[in-house]
């Protein structure tokens, strides 16, 4: 059963690390903006110049 001492130490250390990381992330501003990243990730990288498209293909037609 002595292994429990070790396990307790490890579990506390682990939980403590998470707490520390949470503080660090908060200080770094990770939780300041919880909406924009969800939009940003959907943007594609701009196409290279070699595949320059005719502008009319990009645009929609309207009545």
């Amino acid at each position: 059963m002595e292994v429990i001492f070790l396990l307790i130490a490890i579990s506390l250390l682990l939980a403590g690390t998470f707490l520390f990381l949470f503080f660090k992330a908060m200080k770094g501003g990770q939780f300041d903006d919880d909406y924009t990243p969800s939009v940003r990730i959907l943007f594609e990288n701009p196409p290279k110049k070699s595949t320059k498209k005719n502008p009319s293909t990009k645009q929609k037609s309207y009545e």
């Binding site: 707490l19 943007f43 009319s56 645009q59």
Partner: protein
């Protein structure tokens, strides 16, 4: 340009999605409604940023009303101003954060984050969509701050820079300290629960006796940060309230924390028992969670704006016939300034030019410009429409007719203290009752068994800890705040709801609040209009952006336009057109040459002449907002209603007819009259003021709840407790009712938590409280109160129709 456009075939601007209304500007097969929109498109396509238009349809804001004198950003060259605006600067690069209210879609984010394609001096930019801010890093030697702002303005994203954000940096919306405390409490609570599991199943003999001691000591260690750090706000608040000989909600909480902690210490070290440290951790965790839940903020809205938020940062001063752009703070009495088209007049001043056309919509909500002549005093806050004008400053910007309001004492007081929260009232009684029970059970048991007496004393204090009581308020109010926010009614903080529930008197501002400028009442007097004349008029007013033209346009209804030989709008005068060689003029008497004197009280007159022959005139009065009648009538039975107006009293009879009797009307009230009117009412009543312009700011501040009605909530609203989107004006009765219901819900959840306390105390006085019961009862009561309040508020909101609103 003169071709007829059939109505059903509407051409929509590729940039902003507005009707092009006959304007034909075509680039790359796309139509644009104005030069501004076209220019933005050209800049973007030049830099291959047309992806902007594919992410969302019509992503841009209309550029029609954009004003542009080339030197309006000159003040950004001033080093003091720069220092205030920049977040960071070294010899190579600078960082700056701008508030750009127009940010509204994914395209906006994409474009603003690709700014570095437009100008090589921009290193990177990052958008915070919710706060509508963008942080830009740029190279000092390649682009100046002024050039950067001009660039943003060119692509249609002009940042809003106001005096107030120069003076203080924007405060961080969410209280980070509460989050940190919550994290610590959660960490300790979770671990303490784990170490207490063997104790919960102590009958089962899960582990050796040796571990029990260890686990208890670990619990003590984990409880230390909870008691010393996570709970520190509660000690502060409880101490402050005791110092004033009052008992607020935090006093019984602190009593519970202290008794839990010290009784557990005694149990663990003296009696070798488990103690209640896990319950202590849980208590703080749930309390802090509730506190955080209540702190809903609307990051883009400002409730505490003063005049500095509206006034320009810089003005054009004339010295020795030379224009010089100086910061507003350096403006002095006697200075001569130049105010251009669409610019704000920053201080009370005398008009030096021959005439001015001042739009006071900011102040009064009435958007029709007022005509002023040389030598007249012009109050600060007006907006010049038309030719540039010269003014001499009479009073410094902080001491004008309007800005004096902000020096009034009512702006210094903290309204949150007006009403003692329901929870504080109850907690006073609660604390005394609990103390009485604790002492009497101690007295009873001390005759039989002294150690049991100590135990029951501590148990009563522990179990009666008003955890559930303390959580019902924040969760009910927090949820109410969220539901209001979804309905586009934004409250400054949760305490406004409690004040709103006790309102018995409602004061409306008339212009712009009860009346809607767009909903005008137009009467035409004179020779009847032939179809041909009406068609000509239609094509004349269609060309103009003047509010009166828009109203006449609306009144004329759907008609085909007509090709005219010449149409011109003379600002401050009217519109002139030539049809079949005849000069047709629509506008002021001077401009049209309309000589007959027309008697009319209030309202606006627009005259029509053909070849200087008097044809007739339009009388235009702003009409009631479409929902106003319904709002007033449904509120009349429950509240005392008042109407305040800066206008003359000619409309009283027509208003009384529409709104019914029993409303006290007060006309010709200036900004400070409105304030003192509310002050008088406050002596015997609880007032709610609904207004819209800066002239209501004093009254909004003096009333217990000040609600600002605004068309564009993130752009403009006077200082207030709540901001209401004008589209949901008709919901006011439902909002007030909902605020009342949430107060009832708080009361009901108090009853619920009293039931839990009754059970707990019954066990405690008998000395039966064990760590397991405590560990079950405390979270159970907290969670059930939270569930009850959330369900109840949602149910009430649904019944009142607050969920069926169309999304904005």
């Amino acid at each position: 340009m003169h071709s007829k456009l059939p109505k059903q075939n509407i051409v929509i601007c590729f940039h902003c999605g507005e009707d092009c209304e006959g304007v034909q500007l075509v680039v790359d097969d796309q139509n644009f409604c104005c030069q501004g929109c076209k220019l933005v498109y050209e800049v973007l396509s030049e830099n291959e940023l047309c992806n902007y238009y594919t992410l969302e349809a019509y992503p841009g804001g209309s550029q029609k009303s954009k004003t542009g004198s080339t030197n309006r950003f000159d003040y950004l060259n001033d080093s003091d101003t720069q220092l205030n605006l920049l977040d960071f600067q070294n010899e190579h690069e600078s960082h700056v954060t701008f508030f750009i209210p127009i940010i509204h879609c994914a395209s906006c984010i994409w474009l603003l984050e690709n700014l570095f394609h437009v100008h090589s001096g921009i290193l990177s930019s990052r958008v915070d969509f919710v706060k509508k801010r963008v942080q830009i890093k740029f190279k000092n030697d390649k682009i100046s701050l002024k050039e950067l702002v001009s660039l943003l303005a060119t692509i249609g994203y002009e940042p809003k820079i106001s005096l107030s954000n120069l003076e203080q940096k924007m405060p961080n919306a969410v209280d980070k300290r509460t989050v940190k405390r919550l994290a610590v409490a959660g960490f300790c609570f979770g671990n303490m629960m784990l170490f207490s599991v063997p104790e919960y199943f102590s009958e089962a003999d899960l582990i050796d006796e040796g571990f029990r001691g260890l686990f208890s000591y670990l619990n003590v260690v984990l409880a230390l940060p909870v008691v010393s750090y996570a709970a520190s706000d509660y000690y502060q608040s409880a101490w402050n309230s005791i110092k004033q000989w009052r008992i607020n909600m935090d006093v019984p909480i602190v009593l519970g924390i202290i008794s839990l902690f010290f009784y557990s210490l005694w149990e663990i070290f003296a009696n070798n028992q488990a103690g209640f440290m896990d319950s202590l951790g849980g208590l703080l965790f749930f309390l802090l969670l509730g506190k955080l839940y209540q702190q809903k903020t609307f990051a883009t809205l400002e409730f505490d704006r003063d005049y500095k938020s509206y006034f320009p940062i810089a003005v054009t001063k004339m010295s020795h016939n030379r224009e010089e752009v100086i910061p507003l703070s350096k403006l002095q009495v006697g200075d001569v300034i130049l105010v251009r088209d669409e610019e704000l007049i920053p201080a009370d001043s005398l008009l030096l030019s021959d005439q001015a056309n001042v739009d006071y919509s900011f102040i009064t909500g009435e958007e029709i410009p007022v005509f002023k002549q040389k030598g007249e005093l012009i109050y600060a806050g007006g907006r010049q429409i038309g030719e540039p004008i010269m003014l001499t400053i009479q009073k410094s910007p902080s001491q004008g007719y309007l800005t004096d309001l902000w020096n009034h004492e009512s702006f210094a007081k903290n309204k949150d203290r007006l009403l003692e929260p329901l929870a504080s009232k109850i907690s006073g009684v609660f604390t005394w009752v609990v103390l009485a029970i604790a002492f009497s059970s101690f007295a009873y048991w001390s005759f039989l068994d002294f150690s049991l007496a100590v135990k029951t004393f501590a148990s009563v204090l522990i179990v009666a800890c008003p955890c559930a009581l303390a959580m019902s308020t924040p969760f009910t109010l927090g949820n109410t705040l969220r539901i209001f926010g979804k309905c586009r009614f934004y409250l400054k903080n949760a305490s406004v709801i409690e004040r709103m529930a006790l309102i018995d008197t409602i004061v409306f501002d008339k212009t712009g609040t009860l009346t809607d400028p767009a909903n005008a009442k137009i009467t035409y007097y004179g020779e009847s209009l032939s179809t041909e004349t009406a068609t000509i008029l239609k094509s004349m007013v269609e060309r103009s952006t003047h509010p009166l033209s828009n109203r006449i346009n609306h009144w004329l209804g759907l008609q085909d336009g007509m090709a005219l030989e010449h149409v011109a709008e003379i600002k401050g005068g009217g519109i002139e057109a030539i049809f079949k060689g005849q000069v047709i003029r629509l506008g002021s008497p001077e401009f049209t040459g309309y000589r007959s004197v027309v008697e009319s009280e209030g309202g606006n007159l627009v005259f029509l002449t053909i070849e200087k022959l008097e044809i007739g005139y339009f009388h235009i009065e702003s009409g009631l907002r479409s929902s106003a009648e319904h709002v007033v009538k449904s509120l009349k039975s429950d509240y005392q209603l008042h109407v305040l107006s800066g206008d003359y009293s000619h409309e009283q009879t027509s208003l009384e007819e529409k709104l019914g009797e029993g409303i006290s009307f007060n006309f010709k009230r200036g900004p400070s009259d409105k304030l003192s009117y509310i002050k008088n009412l406050n002596i015997s009543r609880h007032t709610l003021m609904i207004g819209d312009g800066l002239n209501d700011a004093g009254a909004l501040q003096e009333s217990e709840v000040g609600v600002a009605v605004s068309d564009r909530v993130s752009h403009f609203s006077p200082a207030s407790d709540a901001i209401l989107d004008s589209d949901v004006f008709g919901m006011i009765p439902a909002f007030l009712g909902f605020a009342k219901s949430s107060r009832l819900i708080i009361k009901a959840s108090f009853i619920l938590s009293f039931l839990y306390n009754a059970v707990g105390i019954t066990l405690a006085v008998q000395g039966l409280l064990s760590p397991v019961i405590c560990a079950i009862l405390m979270p159970l009561s907290s969670i059930s109160v939270v569930v009850f309040t959330s369900l109840a508020t949602n149910a009430v909101a649904w019944r009142r129709g607050l969920f069926n609103l169309k999304p904005s």
